[in-house]
């Protein structure tokens, strides 16, 4: 028989998060406490769920327009304008997708030619590099540095640019580091992008979970950037709607039109029930977002303080729901640390190396857990490091 497989796909390594969690699953131990999951611990607010139920009872069970319900696209336009000062035409510049993930895939495929280079700063979420490869492009990784609080530096970007570079990918607030880039940080990046005539794909799925004193700024809102930026966002993290699978891309009509083809032929349209629920989320869900944001912030402060007390260095991450403490001083790799703490203290955390080589020496700690769980987990970390230090 001939080889049935596509060589590009076959060469993509399995996700590092997956690998670690297979190990946790194998242990199958009810005593294991996890700080590994990357989704909100809150239920979707009831009024939003109820809209989903109403949509079913009213028989709203047909396909919608490929780009999604116009009513929802209009709400998204209002939302992005209200929060980020961005203006998009609901008819031609907004595409509703199956989660932010689909938007990223469609965007890479619509923008990148075979051999084009896309710059991806790491540590980052595990799907970006594979998506670029699946689009036939070449991912070029920038290893971000802890001393810069994992913010992309203009000189790092400059050094990674070649004549094949087409797209810069960024994602702030960041998974796994929790890093946030403010206006000033982004302005320096935008200057390089414009000078080299690049495009930006920015995954802003955590934009609502920003705990710094400064407002979240989208790079698309900076002068000269709107028409060279595709913004990906969605409902999963802000509104605790992961399972509804709903995200969106906003950007210049020229790009959205081509993304629409990928989307239309691969997906048809995003889930109808979820779209009705999402309209309710955008119209009446902001208080819920604020409530959850405040809860996450309290947990974040609690953990930061505890890490400080335990003497584990951890920069003050100001976004998403992750901390990224450095465990280098214990003289072992992230993998080894995560594996040992799992076996010895029954605590599951994700090794930083799962998010790229520059995540080595760090752990991703998710605080999408109740304070009670976090306290139990911290006790285990404390027991583990106390033993190591003796």
């Amino acid at each position: 028989m001939r080889d049935p497989l596509n060589s590009y796909i076959e060469k993509i390594p399995p996700s590092g998060i997956r690998k670690f969690f297979d190990m946790v699953a194998e242990m199958d131990d009810p005593e294991v406490v996890s700080l590994g999951v990357g989704e909100p611990d809150f239920d979707t607010p009831w009024h939003i769920r109820e809209e989903g139920i109403y949509a079913i009872t009213k028989g709203k069970t047909f396909y919608t327009a490929n780009a999604g319900l116009m009513e929802l696209r209009k709400e998204i336009a209002r939302y992005t304008n209200r929060h980020y000062g961005l203006v998009y035409d609901p008819a031609s510049e907004i595409l509703i997708t199956v989660g932010g993930s689909e938007a990223i895939d469609a965007c890479f495929r619509a923008m990148l030619d075979r051999g084009d280079e896309v710059i991806i700063p790491e540590p980052c979420f595990v799907s970006y590099k594979p998506c670029a490869v699946m689009a036939g492009a070449v991912p070029v990784v920038i290893d971000l540095k802890a001393e810069n609080e994992f913010k992309l530096q203009p000189e790092e970007l400059e050094a990674a640019i070649t004549d094949k570079t087409k797209v810069l990918f960024i994602s702030y607030p960041n998974n796994p580091t929790g890093a946030v880039m403010n206006r000033e940080d982004l302005e320096k990046i935008a200057e390089v992008v414009i000078r080299h005539d690049l495009f930006v794909l920015t995954d802003e799925i955590y934009s609502a979970l920003n705990y710094s004193d400064e407002e979240f700024v989208s790079i698309a809102s900076l002068p000269g950037m709107r028409d060279r930026t595709i913004v990906v966002n969605g409902f999963s993290k802000a509104f605790a709607m992961t399972g509804w699978r709903l995200g969106y891309a906003t950007g210049p009509a020229r790009v959205i039109k081509q993304m629409m083809k990928v989307h239309q032929f691969a997906i048809m349209c995003p889930p109808t029930l979820s779209q009705y629920a999402a309209i309710e989320a955008l119209r009446n869900g902001e208080e819920d977002v604020e409530y959850m944001r405040n809860e996450y912030d309290q947990r974040r402060r609690f953990l930061l303080k505890r890490f400080e007390e335990m003497g584990i260095p951890c920069f003050e991450a100001k976004g998403a729901f992750y901390l990224f403490p450095c465990i280098r001083k214990f003289g072992m790799s992230s993998d080894e640390f995560a594996e040992r703490i799992l076996n010895e203290q029954k605590l599951a955390v994700v090794p930083g190396s799962a998010f790229g080589a520059s995540g080595e020496g760090f752990l991703r700690i998710s605080y999408a857990y109740s304070l009670r769980d976090l306290k139990r987990a911290v006790e285990r970390i404390e027991a583990f490091v106390t033993e190591l230090q003796q």
Binding site: S15, I17, R18, F21, V24, A25, S34, G36, V37, G38, E39, D41, F125, V126, S127, Q298, R299, R301, F302, K305, R306, L371, K375
Partner: protein
Amino acid sequence: MTEKILTILEKNARIKTDDLANILGEDPVRVRQEVEKLESDKVICGYHTLINWDKIGQEKADALIEVKVTPQRGVGFDQVAERIWQYPEVSSIYLVSGNCDFVVLLQGKSMREIAMFVSEKLSTIDGVLSTTTQFILKKYKQEGFVVDSPRRDERQAIS
């Protein structure tokens, strides 16, 4: 800070002061002083534990009693209210609008105790015109907590 402290304590009275200070990013000494002040000012009126007695096989009933009274000159409803709340059996009493004047809540008593209280104590108080006793058959949610619905973390580790 005051409102934040109260919001957290309302949900979790058992939180340690140090943890409370940590999650608020405040100094523990200041937080402790603030809580003490709120207690002495009776902003925090007390701490109590929500118990599902059914779970340990204790048959205790709760009743909600609607009471109609004649308000009295000069003191309105307050004097009758005091004569009712002085009974230790009464866990809550509220003056309400609508068909009755007071709603009285009795918690964790036997059916007999409730019956005795209503017939011998409550209804004989001067000014009490009538009572309607409603036994609580099942509790679904109390003080913001859903009764008897243990939650499991069903989130999967994906990607």
